[in-house]
């Protein structure tokens, strides 16, 4: 229940001065209030789904700024030979709504693959081998042609910021299976981005415990996780216990303040993550064959492959939502079309994506 007056129901009754009747009523209300605060105590506690789920975790590979769909998975043979022609069709680009558009024909050849006969371009020879296990959605529509707002829409359902992202909704609805790791993790591209930054994994109007946690693949996995030298785990435990005692005393008179109980829970999570995060990113436990399949040993695919492998390890350990960003700096290039196309060919680092069938 929500607190519109900024005080508990108990306080309201006391202050309302309703006499002995309020004593009885308030003790009844006190019991129901304490039940709800137990739930607020750990917002990431595992919750039961509404019906039997088919999936336990989501790994979201967000490769924004990529080549056009007609160069990747959407076969448009009628466009070949029409390069440069202007046709009458409603378009919505960065220039606004227009009634005509200039065609750029597909630059790569397409072939059919798999039992379903899906047409895939030559840019994706590895992913093409898995087409029978992939669902392609070719009729998605968007409301914004701009990277920033379109990415916010993909992440939160709204083109303006301020709404919780998909990972926040999932951890809110299901909690996290592993209490030693965050339930919602984001791994970024080392070259930069994404556009709009932290708004893409924000918890919006939900408590901050539901926002994404950045996990780095170079150096320490989570910034500021390890305490300074000389600060042993025992000292840390003692400090946390003392802080928690003080916080609980404070929380007793503020039972409905979920921020406070979330803060207490987050200290505990950070304490546990110090042990679990280094183990998570330690790839020495994986076989050489796995590392090879994920492209960790090839320079072009090393970074993305490593992140995909860590994402898989996180899913195995019960992390609910993992998002990987990978950017092709195409929109950053202001050169000619040829230069852009050359960059696409060089930067295709898609080997790890075809690993879906191995996982």
């Amino acid at each position: 229940m929500q607190n519109f007056c900024g005080r508990t129901r108990r306080e309201f009754l006391w202050q309302g001065g309703l006499g002995f009747g309020s004593l009885a009523l308030s003790s009844l209300l006190m019991n129901s209030a304490s039940a709800s605060t137990k739930a607020a105590a750990n917002p990431l506690a595992e919750k039961i789904p509404m019906f039997a789920p088919k999936a336990k975790s989501v790994i979201f590979l967000f490769m924004y700024g990529g080549p056009s769909h007609i160069d990747t998975f959407d076969y448009k043979p009628n466009m070949v030979g029409m390069d440069g022609k202007t046709v009458t069709v409603k378009t919505f680009g960065r220039g606004g709504h227009r009634n005509e558009g200039r065609i750029v024909e597909p630059r790569w050849k397409f072939k059919q693959y798999g039992q379903c006969g899906k047409w895939v371009s030559d840019l994706f020879p590895n992913v093409a081998t898995c087409v029978d296990d992939i669902a392609f959605l070719h009729s998605m529509t968007a409301e914004s042609p701009i990277h920033g707002s379109a990415m916010l829409m993909m992440n939160s359902g709204k083109i303006l910021s301020g709404a919780p992202s998909l990972g926040s909704w999932l951890t809110y609805g299901l909690g996290s299976e592993n209490e030693n790791l965050p339930g919602y993790v984001v791994m970024l591209d080392p070259t930069g981005g994404p556009i709009s930054g932290a708004k893409n994994w924000s918890s919006g109007f939900m408590p901050a415990s539901y926002q994404g946690t950045i996990l780095r693949t170079k150096g320490s996995p989570i910034l500021d996780l390890q305490p300074p030298a000389g600060f042993t785990r025992e000292i840390q435990r003692d400090l946390l216990d003392t802080i928690e005692a003080a916080n609980r005393r404070h929380a007793n008179s503020r039972e409905s303040n979920s921020d406070l109980s979330a803060r207490i829970a987050s200290y505990e999570l950070a304490y546990r993550m110090q042990m679990s995060a280094p183990e998570l990113v330690d790839l020495s436990q994986e076989t050489a064959e796995t590392l090879e399949l994920y492209g960790v040993n090839q320079e072009k695919t090393a970074d993305f492959g490593k992140r995909c492998l860590i994402a898989r390890r996180m899913a195995e350990r019960g992390v609910r939502f993992i998002q990987l960003y990978s950017v092709e700096p195409i929109t950053m290039i202001t050169g000619t079309l040829t230069a852009i196309l050359k960059t696409i060919t060089i930067n295709m680092r898609v080997q790890p994506i075809s690993l879906s069938q191995h996982y």
């Binding site: 509404m50 019906f51 989501v58 009729s139 529509t141 993909m154 999932l170 609805g173 299901l174 109007f205």
Partner: protein, 52 residues
């Protein structure tokens, strides 16, 4: 085909929540006087054609 069956990000989100065992039209968080949902105020169906 692109022109038939236009889909919105809401449908994709609804599908993902559905696969994880959550009803996209019932999962809500109370804020600003409204039961806010990821898929917005109108009923949104998951994309049943791609669900095995």
């Amino acid at each position: 085909m692109a022109g038939e069956r236009p889909l919105h990000v809401k449908n994709l989100h609804a599908t993902m929540l559905n696969q994880c065992g959550l009803d996209p039209n019932r999962l809500s968080y109370f804020f600003g006087g409204l039961d806010q949902k990821l898929v917005g105020v109108e009923h949104v169906d998951p994309i049943h054609e791609i669900i095995a």
